[in-house]
């Protein structure tokens, strides 16, 4: 048991740290309900209202941006789940010549930062006519080594005898993958899904390049627009926009925190 004195010290440290870490986000949330008058005079909020949120949605195609972000994130998430589970299955259950070479090829992709190959990537998307399209925003991110390794770690724990037994029962590999392996790995699929959604929702550089108008523009770039256009005057509206942007990911993070914690380290090569 911890002594009372030590407990007090820990709580004091925890509370101070929590205030500092949560400070900027809490401040933004409070500001998003404040009137511009209160913000400019730096007073404590005298009245709280939803006016900033109404204004943000009225003056900007914020709803469109949110919908775009949602579509892009869900499509990337599903694409990553499909491709990395297929690849992980091959690495764990299938034995064939050249498997190790392909495995090293996957590792090699981790050495190439997306930022370093962004110029040809942009040209590819442009030449395919994928600028301002969901395809251009999503397909380049479907294949992921991190996801493949995360699932590979998990698939390894499924006994190989299960596969042999289903082969004898006349069940092929693809059916075994669909009906046995995927359901058994639900937890890590959820982890990868949460992670994929989070990172896609928060993407910045690529959507900035791959969209030239509002049709498929994501909410992160929308927020940048909001900020540059309203810069001098309306902080309440800007903060309302920022709060809307972070709500979906914060909810997802709170729900999936435990799973992410174990999953993120498992994705590292072992």
């Amino acid at each position: 048991m911890m002594s009372v004195g030590r407990k007090v010290i820990f709580y004091v440290l925890l509370i101070i740290s929590a205030v500092l870490v949560a400070g900027p986000a809490v401040m933004a949330i409070v500001m998003s309900f404040m009137t511009n008058q209160d913000i400019l005079t730096a007073s404590m909020p005298t009245t709280l209202s939803f006016d900033n949120y109404v204004a943000a949605f009225e003056r900007f195609p914020l709803f469109n941006f949110l919908l775009n972000s949602f579509i892009v994130s869900v499509v990337i998430m599903l694409g990553q789940l499909a491709l990395s589970s297929l690849a992980a299955y091959a690495f764990v259950f299938l034995e064939f010549k050249g498997r190790d070479v392909l495995f090293y090829l996957f590792i090699a992709t981790m050495m190439v930062p997306f930022e370093a190959s962004i110029i040809p990537n942009f040209h590819i998307i442009r030449d395919l006519g994928w600028i301002d399209s969901y395809a251009g925003l999503t397909i380049p991110f479907f294949a992921t080594t991190f996801g493949t390794f995360l699932l590979r770690q998990n698939f390894k724990q499924i006994p190989k005898e299960l596969r042999e037994a289903s082969h004898i029962a006349g069940i092929g590999d693809f059916k075994f993958y669909l009906t046995v392996v995927l359901p058994m790995s639900r937890t890590s699929l959820v982890t990868l899904g949460v992670y994929g959604f989070l990172t896609s929702w928060n993407m910045y550089l690529w959507p900035l390049l791959a969209t030239t108008n509002d049709t498929v523009r994501t909410v992160q770039i929308g927020l940048k627009q909001l900020q540059t256009q309203e810069q001098l005057n309306d902080w309440g509206v800007i903060m309302a926009g920022a709060v809307i942007v972070i709500i979906p990911t914060l909810i997802l993070l709170f729900l999936g925190q435990k799973k992410l914690q174990t999953g993120l380290t498992e994705g590292a090569v072992k």
């Binding site: 870490v21 190439v112 997306f114 962004i118």
Partner: protein, 314 residues
Amino acid sequence: MSTVSPIIEKKEDFAAQINRVKKQKRMTGLLKGILFLLPSIILFGVFVFYPLFRTMYLSFFLTDAKGATTVFVGLENYVYMFSDPIFLKSIKNTFLFVIYTVPATVIISLFLAVISNEKLKGIGLFRTIFTSTMGISVAAASVFWLYLFNPTMGLLNQILEVFGAESIGWLTNPKWAMIAIAITTIWMNIGFTFLILLGGLQSIDTSLYESAEIEGSGYFYKLRRITVPMLSPTLFFVITVSIINSFQTFGQIDILTQGGPANETNLIVYSIYREAFVNYQFGSASAQAIVLFILILLMTALQFKLGERRVHYQ
């Protein structure tokens, strides 16, 4: 004699058959393996490997505004790049930025992980708060700090004013801009780093602490002798990831300073972005991208080499 030969013949026939089946099995195995891996391989080919070689290729050329190569210039882009004070500054800034952000992020997150690894009531809430910055996008985080750094209304200068200190031009003063970007980045990265380190702490065998307790060891002795050594693989992982992340910083620069004042916060990815998509110099931008690629490659290799000796593996 005549009764034996058909059996031998049959045996040979059987062996050939086995061979054929084996061969067939190997072929279908290969085919199946490739089918399962094909989607990933194609996408990696198109969006990772081809672009990497294309970047190398482009770095030897001048291009038009559309990105088509016009004149082969050999290493000229590289020669130009390494004599360009703006690019050299962005390299220096990038290293400086790593030094500003990585140690601070890891130390703060380690502190938070250690204090939230105690069995206390309500600890779950604190853990959630410390993880929360991981869910905040770079655009949103930059907007929060843009306000905090605002010279007149911003909270930071208001606090300074209360203490009678002079206000700081956080984003406009060349001395402070990089620090401001670093603070924003550290805050953003705490969530992820904390989550991983806490996971590492929780996986340390509690019997180690119990036996230390029996010997009457103090809190800080245990921290130094058990926690840190046992945590070193996780720390190693976190440091590598943080360094690579710092090299790839873009969003906070784009929103907070656009590389200014006087290129003081122009980091390498922002420099590549500006050279390629503002100046349309795809050749020299590709040369810069190759430098980024090599930097990250070297950093990973160096980390592996240096890290391995000090890291405690179970």
